[in-house]
């Protein structure tokens, strides 16, 4: 196993910058998820690490070696592809053996390693089959087996779960996580699904428009999103972002809506707002931090319920505030009907404030 260091990595296609000054370090044995919407540069970044795409500028180091100019085969990596990329003409056994044959290992050792990998992944009985005779989950496992059979320095995974159905995806998610724990493998995992990143990764690198937005543990990213993009991308349903105007009244800070209502801020939140470059700030609140009242309460803001979605465990209520959609989760035994008058109370401790100019999170010192 080895650590991976990306330094000021840039990849341009003509005038289009697919990856922009990305720097991050993946520690030895760490599981890092690159996550972001389509076209954010996450797959390009992975291909750069793999050596399938050439670097425009910047450095990639695997272990203590700068690998910029090395062929993929010389980088000591393994990769799992979204479509698995199993060799269709080869049996499962030969698929697993291929990386070892390419490295000219003795036949006996190849056989031993292939059978060991098959045993670990519980597919000994599948060894003679061709990939097309396998189910999606089995194919995925063979792809994983082909990666682990060689004991590479780094595992690269490009949306390995995207082609599976929902149930299998959840199951394979825990299997890959287990695989990481057992092998203490260094894994770089690309996904567009923030839930996969949050549930599996030690650290997640959120990307957008070719830029690295935030690189931290899922808990930190969730609790302290660096900017409005990360705030809205991580978490489901998305964090509600309400544009408001800051002002002072009676010695305290308040946020005023164009709709006429206002919200008094705690001293700590007032400190945050004071650091904004503009008076326009954005209030961010996750569904679970907003309390829904069916009657007027001091400090609560009046709103109208727009849609109500019961999911069984919780019921999600959507409402509009200052033109923004607000998601609130309530216990299923509270019945809310659409168009009903409700009052929303924000948790001062757990609310987020963003500068509407820079879109960056406002922090109190």
């Amino acid at each position: 196993m080895a650590h991976v260091v990306l330094k000021d990595l840039v990849k341009t296609y003509g005038s289009f910058k697919a990856v922009n000054e990305v720097s991050l370090t993946v520690n030895d044995g760490e599981f890092v998820a690159l996550v972001g919407p389509s076209g954010c540069g996450k797959t390009t970044t992975l291909n750069l690490v793999a050596g399938l795409t050439s670097v425009t500028s910047g450095d990639i180091a695997i272990g203590d070696r700068v690998v910029n100019d090395l062929d993929p085969k010389d980088r000591d990596i393994a990769m799992v592809f979204q479509n698995y990329a199993l060799y269709p003409q080869k049996s499962v056994y030969m698929n697993l053996a291929f990386p070892l044959q390419m490295r000219k290992l003795p036949k006996g050792e190849i056989d031993r390693k292939v059978r060991e990998a098959a045993r670990v992944l519980d597919m000994t009985q599948l060894l003679e089959r061709k990939p097309r005779e396998l189910s999606g989950g089995q194919q995925q496992r063979v792809a994983l087996g082909r990666a682990l059979v060689r004991d590479p320095a780094v595992f690269l995974m490009d949306e390995p779960l995207s082609n599976l159905d929902a149930k299998l995806r959840v199951q394979m998610r825990s299997e890959i996580k287990r695989f990481h724990q057992d092998l203490k493998a260094t894994i770089i995992y690309v996904t567009h699904d923030q839930l996969e990143a949050v549930t599996m990764a030690d650290r997640m690198a959120v990307m957008n428009g070719g830029y690295l937005q935030q690189y931290d543990s899922p808990a930190q990213v969730f609790a302290h999103p660096a900017n409005m993009f990360v705030a809205s991308f991580v978490g489901s349903p998305a964090m509600s972002l309400i544009p408001l105007e800051a002002s002072t009244a009676n010695g305290g800070a308040i946020l005023t809506s164009a709709e006429g209502w206002s919200l008094a801020l705690s001293p700590r939140n007032a400190q945050k707002v004071a650091r904004a470059t503009t008076r326009k700030v954005v209030l961010g609140a996750r569904h679970s931090t907003i309390k829904l009242h069916k009657s007027s309460v001091a400090g609560a803001i009046p709103a109208k319920a727009y849609t109500v979605e019961p999911t069984g465990d919780v019921t999600f209520v959507q409402a509009f505030l200052s033109g923004a959609i607000v998601n609130i989760s309530v216990s299923p035994n509270i019945t809310v009907t659409p168009d009903e008058q409700i009052w929303l109370e924000f948790d001062q401790e757990r609310m987020h404030l963003f500068d509407s100019e820079t879109e960056m999170a406002l922090e109190a010192n």
């Binding site: 793999a50 050596g51 399938l52 062929d71 993929p72 085969k73 980088r75 990596i77 393994a78 990769m79 592809f81 979204q82 479509n83 990329a85 060799y87 269709p88 003409q89 291929f98 990386p99 390419m102 490295r103 082909r146 060689r150 690269l156």
Partner: protein, 296 residues
């Protein structure tokens, strides 16, 4: 449940009634097409086993009174001059067609792969330039190519034919094969390269076996094209010992009499290699032509 099973067949039969006319019309058309294509060949076979006299009778003998393999014996007999010629023409055709096929595969495989996998300046222009040739009838190039061949001293050599057939066969060969390579996910090569293969090894070990049907189809296509070609062979070659079969077969026509059984026997034997090739490999041929038509 019972209501469903009762109503379903009724709806089905109603639908069947409506399309019956079309269905029979379609069958009649297929039968007509079958006869249209098969009858000349059957007639060729029947004529080839008649005697010269029986072949000229009118009304024709639908089935020869005295079937004979004399024409075949004559053609395949190296002792007699007709047989010598026929076997030589057959051999010439085989050489020209095989050389064309091998060269066309050798050129088309890397060319198609490059068109499919790499982006390089002028890629689209080159690809359409390759196809441009196919927009003109072959005859247009007859005189210019003859002058060219004379200038480089290739007239009356088989090389002139191989070269010409390549210019006609390669565009479609490249086009066919590119479709094949487009359908092989690039991730397979990427996986192979990560698994320790060089780019070339990834091509030879992973992509080539997968494109075997395409390569086979391309080979058949080139072979058939070269085997049947007439006008260039007729123009470029004038020495008897160099003629290919399509031109050579003309020798059975003469001013006073035409040896129809001999001509038909020669035609039949000429079609044997093509038919055998096609029957053996038709699976691949059909697959190649429809490759990329639907998403898998």
């Amino acid at each position: 449940m019972s209501t469903v099973s009762e109503t379903a067949p009724r709806g089905q039969s109603a639908r069947r009634m409506r399309i019956d006319g079309w269905r029979w019309g379609g069958r009649a058309f297929l039968v007509f097409m079958l006869l249209y294509t098969a009858l000349p060949m059957i007639w060729m076979l029947l004529t080839s086993i008649k005697s010269g006299f029986a072949a000229m009778q009118f009304p024709p003998q639908w089935w020869p009174d005295q079937p004979t393999l004399a024409s075949y014996q004559k053609l395949l007999d190296p002792q007699n001059s007709v047989g010598q010629d026929f076997l030589r023409f057959f051999w010439n055709s085989l050489i020209v067609s095989t050389a064309t096929t091998i060269l066309s595969v050798i050129v088309a495989v890397p060319a198609a792969y490059a068109f499919s996998r790499f982006t390089f300046p002028g890629r689209n222009f080159l690809f359409f330039a390759v196809l441009l040739r196919n927009m003109f009838p072959a005859v247009i190039f007859l005189v210019p190519l003859f002058i060219l061949m004379r200038a480089i001293g290739l007239v009356n050599t088989h090389g002139s034919l191989v070269l010409t057939y390549l210019t006609f066969g390669l565009p479609l060969a490249i086009w066919l094969l590119k479709g094949f390579y487009d359908n092989i996910p690039v991730q397979l090569e990427q996986a192979a390269r990560i698994d320790g293969a060089t780019r070339f090894q990834a091509f030879v070990l992973i992509v080539m076996p997968l494109s075997a049907p395409g390569i086979i189809a391309t080979a058949i296509y080139s072979f058939i094209g070269a085997w049947n070609e007439y006008i260039y062979a007729y123009t470029f070659l004038s020495k008897n010992e160099q003629l290919t079969l399509p031109v050579g077969i003309q020798r059975f026509f003469s001013e006073n009499s035409t040896d129809f059984p001999g001509l038909m026997a020669a035609s039949f034997m000429m079609s044997v290699p093509v038919v055998v090739l096609f029957l053996l490999l038709q699976r691949y041929f059909v697959r190649a032509l429809t490759e990329g038509a639907v998403k898998h």
